[in-house]
């Protein structure tokens, strides 16, 4: 699902609500078919405006940390980095990465730890054309295995998506 709307219409807030990072003032969020013991946020990946990377740590250390912390298998790091086009940069400190490479590294987290829901806030920001193509490919693969994606975006995602327009009086 693509969340569309002008700046300030609440796209990011909606994603943070679903992730459990904001508390709704009324109502509740329920996931049908998920793991009942876990919250929606615990079954989701959240890719916000910030990349959650530590500049002094290397690419492999950053990915390895989130993979282990979020409960994934750390032995797939090479394949994961290859999938986002960061092969050969494993030992480079994240401080030396460009903005696009940092975005790719944070996208690597999504495939390193399988979670059914991806909450993406402007996922294409800082990505070049090749990076956007890779992201489209990753999203297609995730949808093909039954995953769900909610993406706040101003541009095309490259996949067929239901649109939810915020900030418009219908």
């Amino acid at each position: 699902m693509a969340l569309l709307g002008p700046n300030g219409s609440g796209k990011s807030s909606l994603l943070r609500l679903i992730a459990g990072l904001l508390r709704p003032s009324a109502g509740h969020i329920e996931l049908e078919g998920g793991i009942a013991e876990r919250t929606v946020g615990e079954q989701a990946h959240y890719l916000g405006h910030l990349d959650a990377l530590k500049p002094p740590l290397t690419v492999a250390e950053n990915l390895g940390f989130w993979t282990r912390y979020l409960g994934g298998a750390a032995n797939r790091a090479d394949a994961t980095l290859a999938a986002v086009g960061l092969s050969g940069l494993e030992d480079l400190p994240a401080a030396y990465l460009s903005a696009g490479q940092r975005r790719r590294l944070s996208l690597a987290r999504l495939i390193a730890v399988p979670r059914p829901i991806w909450l993406l806030d402007e996922p294409t920001s800082a990505l070049d054309a090749a990076g956007q193509d890779r992201l489209t490919e990753l999203m297609r693969e995730h949808l093909a295995i039954g995953g769900m994606i909610l993406a706040a975006t101003h541009g095309p995602l490259g996949i067929e998506a239901t649109e939810l327009r915020l900030g418009q009086i219908v």
């Binding site: 992730a19 459990g20 959650a52």
Partner: protein
């Protein structure tokens, strides 16, 4: 490796990689201890008498230095959002962060204490007592600091507010830490009662600190 252990290892690695936090803390501790004799005069007997209190105050102030980065760095780069969503109880993750912080900033202060005790003309027994009480008391300072860090993390310039929030809460730890150190040297009461109360304060803060900090974070970040 559990998620909490992973977080502990990462924070220790970051502290080592960035460097400076332990050295700055010890340097600040050294400066405080050096300034006091300049202020109160070179009376060796007086320095020996107030030495444990000076060392405790120096360690307390030095432990505040790096506290503002305890959670602020993770908040600024977005890591805190993922830690909140991780599935690991937030209290456990915060305890792991506090442990890493204590190992990288509290332990160096404890190690430096005997050396700095020499500057204050402390006897070996007094140095041992102060070192022992700091070893037991500094985890409490970190856990109390964790609450302050969680309360101030979402505030602009929260680092300035942090010492004001934290220092009053550390008064009991300071009182019983100094009392135990003095009791070991001068008496008249025995070392055990204040030391046991210090141990209890540390154990209490180890339990309460992460829960209070987690509650503060959940409310503060909304």
């Amino acid at each position: 490796m559990t998620p909490s252990t992973t977080l502990l290892v990462r924070d220790m690695r970051l502290a080592t990689r960035i460097g400076g936090s332990a050295a700055i803390g010890v340097l600040f501790f050294l400066i405080v201890v050096t300034l006091v004799p300049l202020a109160v005069g070179p009376d060796l007997a007086q320095l020996r008498r107030i030495g444990p209190a000076i060392l405790w105050l120096g360690a307390l102030l030095a432990s505040l230095l790096a506290l503002d980065r305890l959670l602020a760095a993770d908040h600024e780069d977005g890591s805190l959002d993922l830690i909140l969503m991780g599935g690991t109880p937030l209290e456990l993750s915060l305890l792991a962060k506090a442990a890493a912080h204590w190992i990288t900033t509290g332990v160096p202060l404890v190690i430096a204490t005997p050396l700095l005790g020499l500057f204050l003309n402390l006897e070996p027994l007094a140095m041992g007592a102060v070192t022992m009480t700091l070893l037991v008391g500094t985890p409490a300072l970190t856990c109390i600091g964790l609450i302050g860090a969680a309360l101030s993390v979402a505030l602009r310039r929260g680092g300035l507010l942090l010492p004001v929030l934290v220092l009053p809460l550390t008064i009991p730890v300071l009182i019983f830490g100094v009392a135990a150190s003095n009791a070991a040297v001068a008496g008249p009461m025995s070392f055990s009662p204040p030391f046991m109360i210090l141990c209890a304060l540390t154990l209490g803060s180890l339990v309460l600190g992460p829960f209070a900090a987690a509650a503060a974070l959940r409310h503060g970040l909304e």
